[in-house]
Symmetry: C2
Subunit: 294 residues, 2 copies
DNA sequence: GTTCCGCATGAATCGATAG
DNA sequence: ACTATCGATTCATGCGGAA
């Protein structure tokens, strides 16, 4: 089985035209947020955001299979002391295009941006909006089940000392009781809250998207040899993960620097994948290192 | 200082008329969620929800002080496989009434119980929408500070060293200051994600939020002798907590059973508060027990 | 090879200052 | 008055160098 990766350089609204109707199983993307990342991308004003995005979501609707899923990572910024409403307006408009707004997952970012303000706390969550074309879509829930023991362990680890202390100081009994409840079972389904840290400290590019995020959705909504699309590829996290997980992938990127960078990454990952002796876990480690050290 | 608790029995849209303009410091409430089924208590059909709520939010706007805050606990239901949009529509309409949508907190319900659906996971979060009348509002951030992360250890060590040096080089007498530095550095400001356990009460009512939730917002947005309002009192969690925390409170409830129940709870709490010998912590425990065992 | 410590670095936001 | 730019604030994380 051969896994293909296609990369397009250019504006995604136009480049999407090269993608066939009903050909994509999963779209996972994180478009530039309004007026953020002005340095790298143009920066779209909050008031123009919906207008800017709608032609793109229309194309995404066209290329997605009826059984496919679109996962959109986004968060509204604060403007003039208030949360902007463009994300809500976007959802309402996308529904008019025919999208079903199936679910909203929460990405709880452990390491949110620091800062102190008189009227608000640090923003430590983002939206992961799930859209579908049809009510029946492919979902492989068992793939993201977590063994109970591990779950408890990883959860404990993830939560870190801080959270444990917080929990204890606040609720007293809740946490320990919880764990003992879970321990008797084998596996559990996750919920719609994802608890991951952002990847910071990568030198060249700002990959705010931890690999676990696309990995989780790829596991959940696709099987091997399916096709994953990221129209705002950026540093290529989604593509690399898809490649590693034996999914075909298509990526579109506006900036030549990123485009080239991803092209190289993919190549090096493919080399690892071709080594016959190396086991999956091993490969994964290799691949990770190969671009984490970039 | 005497703390007052006023309870009104009746439809909150009407009963709110008895509350004076600009008299409330904090509104915390969890209105009945939309429900497709007819005949359930408080079940308002999703399509009618915004229309039903707007006259109430208008009254709430009138009674809230300009420096006050309105915290609305709500989550959209799934209707026909899709998330409903009435919460988003409500936010947009409330903005037209003059409300500022300052922030959206996430309440991550840690121990919501497993369930299985073919196309979605457990819903383990709810929205806590913060609305204000003015950009400047009262917020007492220090009251909700929380123990810091692991690195605090090393940082604390450093700090204590520098503090020691500072104290030595200056005039003595630095001990108290030293300690206070220590303590203040040991804590961090929280973020906009709250994780609290849900109260798995086998009580006779449905809408149970844990005491920690109103407690947190009461600490954050009010000081002693301020006034807290809950127009959908239900089992009275907000009122009881407010009472315990020495805030005046006003509660409105449609159902006589709940109304009576809360009235009794409040009375018993007040008895504890009046005992002169009992210390705050002790009182708190008593009060908790008095209605937890109900 | 461990473990420990120091350091840079974020999808941030506010308020003041400048044009 | 209204918009653009800049400094200050703050905390979890992973890296690199050191013991």
């Amino acid at each position: 089985m051969e896994i293909k990766t296609e990369l397009f350089l250019g504006d995604c609204k136009k480049e999407l035209g090269k993608v066939a109707d009903n050909s994509i199983d999963l779209i996972v993307t994180s478009p530039p947020y309004a007026d953020q990342r002005n340095g790298t991308y143009g920066g779209i004003h909050p008031s123009k955001y919906v207008e800017w995005f709608l032609p793109i979501s229309k194309e995404l609707f066209r290329v997605l299979k009826p059984t496919g899923t679109f996962v959109l990572n986004i968060k509204e910024k604060v403007v003039d002391g208030e949360r902007s409403t463009y994300v809500m307006e976007l959802i309402l408009e996308m529904k008019k295009q025919g999208w079903l707004w199936t679910e909203e997952f929460i990405w709880h970012k452990k390491n949110s941006y620091p800062g102190k303000w008189p009227n608000r706390f640090r923003d430590s969550w983002e939206r992961l909006l799930q859209f579908n074309k049809e009510k029946k879509f492919n979902m492989y829930q068992d793939e993201v089940m977590v063994p109970m023991g591990d779950w408890a362990k990883s959860r404990l680890k993830n939560l870190s000392e801080t959270d444990k202390r917080r929990d204890n100081s606040k609720v007293g009994s809740g946490f320990g009781k919880n764990i003992s409840n879970w321990i008797s079972r084998d596996k559990a389904y996750p919920s719609n809250v994802l608890h991951l840290a952002t990847e910071c400290g990568n030198k060249n590019h700002s990959a705010a998207f931890p690999e676990e995020l696309p990995e989780w959705f790829i596991k959940l909504f696709t099987k091997e040899a399916d096709t994953v699309l990221d129209p705002f590829m950026g540093s290529g996290t989604t593509l690399v993960v898809a490649n590693r997980m034996k999914r075909n992938s298509i990526g579109i990127e506006l900036k030549p620097e990123y485009f080239k960078m991803v092209k190289n990454q993919i190549k090096s990952v493919e080399l690892y994948l071709l080594e016959p002796k190396v086991k999956y876990e091993k490969r994964k480690t290799h691949a990770k290192r190969s671009y984490a050290s970039r």
